[in-house]
Amino acid sequence: MSDVVLETRGLVKHFKQVRAVDGVDVHLRRGETLGVVGESGCGKSTLAKLLVGLEKPTSGSVMVRGQDMTRLKGGDLRRARRNIQMVMQDPYTSLNPRMTVGDIIGEPFEIHPDVVAKGKRQQAVQDLLDTVGLNPDHVNRYPHQFSGGQRQRIGIARALALRPEIIVCDEPVSALDVSIQAQVINLLERLQDDFGLSYIFIAHDLSVVRHISDRVAVMYLGKIVEQGHDVAIYDQPTHPYTQALLSAVPVPDPRLRGHRNQIVLEGDVPSPADPPSGCRFRTRCWKAQHVCAEQEPVLQIRERSPHPSACHFAEIRRIH
């Protein structure tokens, strides 16, 4: 598949005992959005950092356009990194408060001087501000002079500066109010069309992920438990965890109250330092049998799951 721009193979990241990411295979095609959902501690943010090279994997590879990022060094690594950029969650802490917006957005040009000639950088920064819907005249302002939504636009402009093909968005709208969220999501979608970007979109808000994603991967304790097209995951989930997750999301329609078939899970997510044997979800799963403790279910297409699912008893269950 020549249009695959990003692919991970057996990606693993352990922090001492903690198995944050424990064998993840994903791929991303050009112009596509892959949503990654999961609850806190499932490893989705560590995955984001591995993809952009902010963390070194314990094992496995991150292939960007056929090059293994984890093996590149020096200038080759620097050039390869241009192609994959990141938008962070918190627009308050991810922008340096002592730098002007112009310096923040222009900093990538300092590190990669051959992208834009020195004399044209000011103009490039102002164009970027315009692209993300901010006033180009505000180039000398500081982050605190902007609202949360505007700051997130600054973060997006910075990610666009090196004209990457891939942007990893780690919870890009979760710190924002609903009305502002919608503005930023629309912006991300417009930029994707204008620049042919591919997104990895990491979030815990399932309705936002559904809106923006072409395909979705569901993570639990460092592993992907189910993966497929958005319709497959949301309308025909086959993994019990996906089913529970979807059913737990409150629906903004009071007519459904009491008519929803809600699966309330018992207990908390186990520690990733000491995950259960076999299937990691079995300790909270209502379908668990002996085999689940003994044999780890592989993420694959199964008899009753038309898309990959890591459950011995995978079976479609409609949630809404």
């Binding site: 609850e39 806190s40 609202s147 939504g149 109010d177 609903v178 009305s179 502002i180 969220q181 919608a182 503005q183 999501i185 629309n186 979608e189 815990h204 399932l206 309705s207 936002v208 559904r210 809106h211 958005d230 529970a244 997750l245 737990a248 999301v249 409150p250 629906v251 903004p252 329609d253 009071p254 007519r255 459904l256 109250r257 809600q262 309330v264 899970l265 908390d268 997510v269």
Partner: protein
């Protein structure tokens, strides 16, 4: 124990027919470097026993400040209640003497917060913090108080409560900590429970557990619940009535079904339309243009007018729109509510 409860029940001005809690025309200001921030500008709502009222709004709309004012935990200064009433069974708490007011609040009104980790004291065990309530307010012995603490942890379904009572807050998971907070709030059998974004910091599967627990405890105790949230999904799931706040005012007040079916204020309508919906996939989301106003500089007339697609001249002039009775048990502060309702 009965003594204290009895004393409160005969406070002068107690009206058995009054709502359990009633907030009238509440105004709260903060002095800041940039001038006076008008956080709450005439908020009014009421709550009956057994009922769930959702106060819905985005950051800075005044919902948490209103809750702090009711609880009496507003930082003063810089905060100041400049006007209004907070009536518990008809008695205006703002007019009571300090000791009396504290006694009503301690025994009748309780609150749980978004961030349980910072709301609990990290250097005491949860058992000590729970038992302290019984020792201070009920004069119980240490041993009795501790037993009550274990009972409470049991009631909020913390597994192995007897052994966990001696653990410190950091030893609990986020969901379990929120249960401890709920136990603490319920310790003195309050009649009003204010929950300020109780599940915002939690994962959805844990959120479902906590909301289920709150609903069950509310039913058992016939408590009035004020749920402060920005999550329209949670509201649709649990609330009986909604008060939507914007720039410190309740701009719409209605039974929950009515609001979702036919919002009566342009802001409520725009909020509901900006949620990503299944049938709108691949399309642009509806956005509310612009930003909420700075509280130091609230626009004249309707505070929402600069962002509103219905706004006309009267909306830009003081006084702000009154609370029009747009249907039985429904109000909306919009001159053009008929257009918004689609009549």
């Amino acid at each position: 124990m009965t003594d204290i409860k009895a004393q409160i029940d005969v406070l002068p001005g107690t009206d058995p027919r009054a709502p359990l809690l009633q907030v009238n025309d509440l105004h709260v200001e903060f002095r800041t470097r940039d001038g006076v921030a008008k956080a709450v500008n005439g908020a009014s709502f009421w709550l009956n026993p057994g009922e769930t009222l959702a106060i819905l709004g985005e950051s800075g709309c005044g919902k948490s400040v209103t809750a702090s004012a009711i609880m009496g935990i507003l930082e003063t200064p810089p905060g100041r209640i400049t006007k209004g009433e907070i009536r518990y069974r008809g008695v205006d708490l703002l007019k009571l003497r300090g000791a009396e007011r504290r006694r009503v609040r301690a025994n009748k009104i309780a609150m749980i917060f978004q961030d349980a980790l910072s709301a609990l004291n990290p250097v005491y065990t949860v058992g000590f913090q729970l038992a302290e309530l019984f020792r201070v307010h009920r004069g119980m012995s240490r041993a009795d108080a501790k037993n009550r603490a274990v009972d409470l942890l049991d009631q909020v379904r913390i597994p192995a409560a007897r052994s966990r009572v001696d653990d410190y807050p950091h030893q609990f998971s986020g969901g379990m900590r929120q249960r401890v907070m709920i136990a603490m709030a319920l310790a003195l059998d309050p009649e009003v429970l204010i929950a300020d974004e109780p599940t915002t910091a939690l994962d959805v599967t844990v959120q479902a557990q906590i909301m289920g627990l709150l609903a069950e405890l509310q039913r058992q105790r016939n408590m009035g619940l004020i749920l402060i949230t920005h999550d329209m999904g949670v509201v649709a799931d649990v609330a009986d009535r909604i008060s939507v706040m914007y720039a410190g005012r309740v701009i719409e007040e209605a039974p929950v079904h009515d609001v979702y079916a036919r919002p009566g204020h342009p802001y409520t309508r725009a909020l509901l339309e900006s949620i990503p919906r299944l049938d709108l996939k691949g399309q642009q989301l509806n956005v509310i243009r612009g930003l909420p106003p700075a509280l130091t500089d609230i626009p004249q007339g309707c505070a929402f007018n600069p962002r509103c697609r219905y706004a006309k001249d009267p909306c830009r002039q003081d006084p702000p729109p009154p609370a029009y009775a747009i249907a039985p048990r429904r109000t909306a502060r919009c001159h053009f509510f008929r257009e918004v309702l689609g009549e």
